[in-house]
Amino acid sequence: MSTEETRKLELIQGDLDGELSAADRAELARLLLQDPEARRVRDELARTDAMLRALPPAEPPAGLRPSILSALGLASGGAEGTGSGAAAWGRYRLAAAVLGGLVVVGLGYRLVSTQEDLDGLQGSIAAGAVATAPADEVVIAVGGGHVTARLFREGTRTRLTLESSGLEPIEVIGQYDPTVLAPAGAAAAGPGSRAGQFGAVLQAADPSESLEFTGTGPIRLEIRAGGQRLDTVVLGADAPD
């Protein structure tokens, strides 16, 4: 690439990034007037830039900050005003080191664990989940396996468990009446979640999900894979509260 070409691209990109001096901006303005190819390149990059800028930032999960502060020993009411000084600092650092190690090990485990490990873990979770009989249950065939959705009523709480035995990612979109059910935990923070709706993704590496709600009421589930809707079911419509 020639020096002239490099300079042209540097000016166009610098303009997009707001990093040009007044003299550079003037040079770019002259260049764009004279050079239709420069205008074409600038317009293409500007469109890409506009699309990137339009991507909305994601909201962190509701429980992330409390989890971080707790891991650091800084949960509200925990650290402030209690034992300031080197000894307290040392305790916090030690707690953070231990908890940090656990998080790193946990992340590494989740990323490198084998399917056998996951199958065993899934079995353990499933064993715990079925300790109480579900109020409603449905099994939906998906490509190469099935999705099992179970609805449990525990006093004034509702728990929904989802498990997939298939290999392809399964998207589950749930809808409920927000005047009778209030989501908690993952049901409130999952992808696509908003009032009256939640989302979950079941994958081979993470095939189960448990979602908690306060209140009791039916939940409609739309099961999707590869962008296609596979089935729609309603759990708990006739189940006794």
């Binding site: 691209l9 540097e10 990109q13 610098g14 990034d17 990093e19 293409e44 990059l45 469109r47 890409t48 830039d49 699309m51 990137l52 800028r53 991507l55 930032p57 994601a58 909201e59 962190p60 999960p61 992330l64 900050r65 989890s67 971080i68 502060l69 891991a71 650091l72 020993g73 800084l74 650290a79 402030e80 300031s84 000084g85 080197a86 307290a88 600092w89 916090y92 650092r93 953070a96 080191a97 908890l99 940090g100 998080v103 790193v104 946990g106 992340l107 590494g108 989740r110 990323l111 490198v112 990612p169 998207e171 979109i173 992808p191 696509g192 989302g199 993704v201 994958q203 993470d206």
Partner: protein, 180 residues
């Protein structure tokens, strides 16, 4: 919060008031999570990386050099943690391919109804991590060339070059998808 505010909070921590770090968590939780999410495209991994980044920063505050911006150091930890997570993921899924293939649509955008948005996220996901990092820092952390150079430990001219190449790749992929 300015660079000086960050530095003051760090000094407070080092003087024995660790609670001052809570302000830093509050300030950088969202940008760090977004950086990790766009690097990894997986909410659970992004959550873990964000938490690990704060923990590592907290544990290593004495190693922080105040002549550099604190947030650059924090972003650097998050980016490095994200790259490590990508390497682990790659080793697990494809031990021979030296490219970084797209994992396909990730769960974080599985419910995106906007086809163009999903296409753009797919295109970002298809970039090699070095190129993805500059796009993520530019568009999801709003960092300048100088900041990115500090965060990534590379020269500013390398930042510009990677950013230009990454944009060209994204433009070509979006054009192929018919999104441009």
């Amino acid at each position: 919060m300015s660079k000086d505010d960050d530095a003051a909070r760090v000094q407070e921590c080092l003087r024995g008031n660790p609670q001052a770090f809570a302000t830093i968590v509050e300030r950088y939780e969202k940008p760090l999570y977004n950086v990790a999410l766009r690097m990894l495209r997986h909410p659970e991994d992004a959550r873990d990386v964000t938490q690990t980044a704060f923990l590592k920063a907290f544990q290593g505050l004495e190693k922080y050099d105040p002549q550099f911006k604190f947030y650059s150091w924090l972003y650097r930890i998050a980016i490095n943690e994200s790259l490590d997570a990508l390497r682990l993921r790659r080793r697990e899924t494809d031990p021979v391919d030296d490219q970084y293939p797209s994992d396909g649509p990730g769960p974080e955008d599985s419910f995106a109804t906007d086809v163009a948005e999903r296409g753009l996220l797919d295109a970002i996901d298809g970039l090699k991590p070095d190129y993805r990092a500059v796009i993520v820092l530019k568009y999801f952390a709003d960092r300048s060339y100088g900041d990115m150079a500090g965060i990534l430990g590379i020269e500013e001219k390398t930042v510009k070059s990677r950013l230009f190449t990454a944009r060209q790749m994204l433009k070509d992929r979006l054009a192929d998808m018919g999104s441009l």
